[in-house]
């Protein structure tokens, strides 16, 4: 009973219900949306978003933000694709992409933790820099005609039409989830975001934890980039443009608070699936893609506002109940008169 109650209180559950409701609603209008094959396509379509949302979750949990992951993803994808095209072994290309992500993440982390630049500013700045570097690196050209085998990775399915990358994402997410919730080391991220001074007081290395969060975020964007390359098959100078905002939106929809310390990567994953599915929903609803942004905006604001109000109400209710409980029923209390 208690467990069930707790489950329902968990933010990711309400995000999940939101996802479910969205799918069902669209299914009501257009039943072909609910075909298992299509649901799997929705999942396949979210493999990149899930990874970047999980990476972003690390940073947001520590109370910071990373507005540069779109460009990080683009840069890592460009590097990965270039090497693949030049027939480098896949492993090398993937490792180089990861290296790019790690370096980008380290630079962000350095700026935030050592130079004390507010993360939103630091990463807005590096977003411009990394994006510029993609142009420098690719000369603005498309990287295309990648080895068919590598592209084939994203088309390797298990369970019917489900891409194995999606399963890989889920496994990664689960591991990260356990790491963040169950291990002493992993709990640090939320602790730092919850109360930096308090974390410092009990010996949690705040700066190092934040640094690590940015590096992990970079690594996840790079991993996302590898999947992107495999899934899309070509990389342009604007690859990943705007993904940072989508990842932030995914995290928020998934119940991760931007002020840090609250939320789980399971939520981020659900948010990622929602964000990746919106453009698909519209096709099935026969609504013009013009309304893509409108719907995203309304959804984002609605979910967050409703959640925030509900949260506030329950806190306020609890407070009032507790206060009311203090007051004795009879006049005078235990005082003998």
């Amino acid at each position: 009973m208690n467990v069930v109650k707790k489950l329902f209180k968990a933010r990711e559950i309400s995000s999940f219900l939101c996802l479910l409701a969205m799918f069902l609603l669209v299914g009501l209008v257009n039943p072909s949306f609910l075909k298992p094959q299509n649901i799997m396509l929705c999942f396949n379509g979210s493999i990149v978003y899930i990874l970047i949302a999980v990476g972003m979750a690390f940073v947001i949990l520590t109370g910071e933000i990373d507005c540069s992951i779109g460009a990080q993803l683009g840069l890592a994808a460009a590097v990965c694709a270039t090497f693949l095209k030049n027939e480098a072994p896949w492993g090398v290309a993937i490792l180089l992409a990861l290296l790019v992500g790690l370096v980008c993440g380290t630079i962000n982390g350095f700026g935030v933790t050592v130079l004390h630049i507010p993360s939103i500013i630091m990463t807005l700045g590096t977003n411009g820099i990394y994006r510029g570097l993609i142009y420098v690196y690719t000369q603005g050209k498309w990287v295309e005609n990648l080895p068919a085998g590598f592209k084939g990775l994203a088309q390797t399915n298990i369970f019917g039409n489900l891409c194995w990358f999606f399963v890989m994402d889920l496994v990664i997410m689960l591991l990260v989830f356990l790491y963040l919730r169950k291990t002493r080391h992993g709990k640090r991220f939320a602790a730092v975001g919850d109360n930096e001074m308090g974390a410092d007081l009990i010996g949690i290395p705040v700066a190092r934890t934040k640094m690590l969060a940015f590096i992990i975020c970079g690594a996840f964007s790079a991993l996302g980039a590898v999947l992107y390359v495999s899934r899309v098959g070509f990389v342009t100078a604007i690859s990943g443009n705007g993904y940072e905002m989508k990842a932030i939106a995914a995290c928020v929809i998934g119940g991760i608070s931007l002020s840090g310390g609250v939320g789980t990567v399971a939520g981020a994953t659900i948010g990622g699936i929602i964000m990746a599915s919106i453009s698909r929903l519209l096709v099935f609803l026969k609504i013009s893609s013009d309304y893509d942004n409108t719907i995203t905006g309304i959804l984002l604001i609605a979910i967050v506002v409703i959640d925030s109000l509900a949260q506030r109400r329950s806190v306020e209710k609890a407070r009032r109940e507790r206060l009311a409980a203090r007051v004795t029923e009879t006049e005078g209390g235990a005082d003998h008169e």
Binding site: R131, T236, S239, S279, S288
Partner: protein, 347 residues
């Protein structure tokens, strides 16, 4: 003079000495294979001809305001000519007029502005021509999938970048007219069109959804160079081939070769963008060099051949657009790519 394209002072100095002209070559958006290959072609051509240098500079996000800034900079930087593919049908008019007043030659290519704001448009064809070309591509693709465009009931839809992009929408409109006249048996299942905003991943998502939501669709026309490979990838993901659905549109040969080989796409089209870029830059140089052109002139372009200046009304359909000192140059031809000829191209 210097051959550097990056040293502003060098270029202006060379402009003053008059031995080498500086042409600022503006794409609609940077990082798009269409425009990049136009630049490649133009740069190579400029090296061969050797009378002008090309400074390639564009907006990364296809923003009008960026293009205005770039043109303003071209003026103040002391460039001699501008060749621009406009993001907006009218948004560049003012600044291009200003450029002409400042003595720069103004050429548009690929995507036009108001006729009196520029001197020459180097066009791949009027919207009508390209609309018809798209219909022709569609016919061929349908035939390859075993349909008879003239008799069978055909369900089709459009998938391109955005509702706000000028040229793609004008081609769409023109093609719709042709279809309405010629093929009453075709049915557009999504008159609002599908857009993927030049986001490659979104192109796949939208592509997959289109194929699933309309599982009896026969034809998808993708007149955008990001949407076409995305749509093809989507078909591949769903295991659909040429036989199941006809997918065609505009994209560079390189972007589509794989899908053609895999039997997902039969044919698609484009024009020689490198050639278009070269002609645009040459025309800008030619005008900047003090030459005047009038309708009916034939100009001999080294390495390329002769082109003719025709009336603006050829592309706008409005006789009122025929103004002095302004005209259109058509590209010789558009190419349709298939498995047979795609390896002859590398862009």
């Amino acid at each position: 003079g210097s051959k550097e394209t990056s040293g502003g002072s060098d270029s202006s100095a060379s402009a003053a000495s008059g031995d080498e002209k500086l042409i600022v070559f503006v794409p609609k958006v940077t990082g798009n294979s269409f425009f990049e290959s136009a630049n490649d072609g133009a740069q190579e051509f400029a090296k061969k001809v050797g009378k002008f240098t090309i400074n390639y500079d564009g907006s990364a996000t296809a923003a009008v305001a960026d293009q205005v800034t770039i043109i303003n900079n071209a003026i103040t930087q002391g460039a001699d000519g501008i060749a621009v593919s406009s993001v907006d049908a009218t948004g560049l008019d003012e600044v291009l007029k200003k450029a002409q007043d400042a003595g720069l030659s103004v050429v548009t290519w690929d995507s036009d502005v108001t006729a009196d704001a520029r001197q020459i448009m180097v066009s791949q064809g009027s919207p009508e021509i390209l609309g018809e070309f798209l219909v022709q591509l569609s016919e061929d693709a349908l035939k390859a999938s075993g349909k008879d465009p003239a008799k069978d009931d055909i369900k089709y839809c459009w998938h391109y970048s955005q509702a706000t992009v000028t040229d793609q929408n004008s081609w769409h409109d023109a093609a719709e007219k042709v279809i309405a006249e010629k093929y009453p048996n075709w049915e557009n299942v999504a008159p609002d069109n599908y857009y993927s905003e030049q986001d490659a991943e979104k192109a796949i998502s939208v592509g997959e959804s289109v194929l699933t939501a309309h599982d009896d669709i026969n034809l998808i026309i993708c007149n955008d160079s990001t949407a076409l490979p995305g749509q093809a990838q989507a078909a591949q993901n769903l295991g659909k081939t040429v036989k199941d659905v006809a997918i065609t549109g505009f994209a560079t040969p390189n972007a589509m070769k794989d899908y053609c080989t895999a039997g997902i796409v039969n044919n698609w089209g484009l024009w020689d963008t490198g050639l278009q870029g070269s002609i645009a830059c040459y025309m800008a140089y030619y005008l900047a060099d003090g030459n005047k052109v009038t309708i009916g002139d034939k100009i001999d372009i080294p390495e390329i051949g002769e082109v003719e200046i025709v009336n603006n009304s050829e592309i706008t359909g409005n006789d009122s657009d025929n103004v002095d000192g302004s005209g259109v140059v058509f590209l010789p031809e558009r190419a349709e790519f298939t498995a047979d000829n795609m390896n002859d191209y590398d862009f």
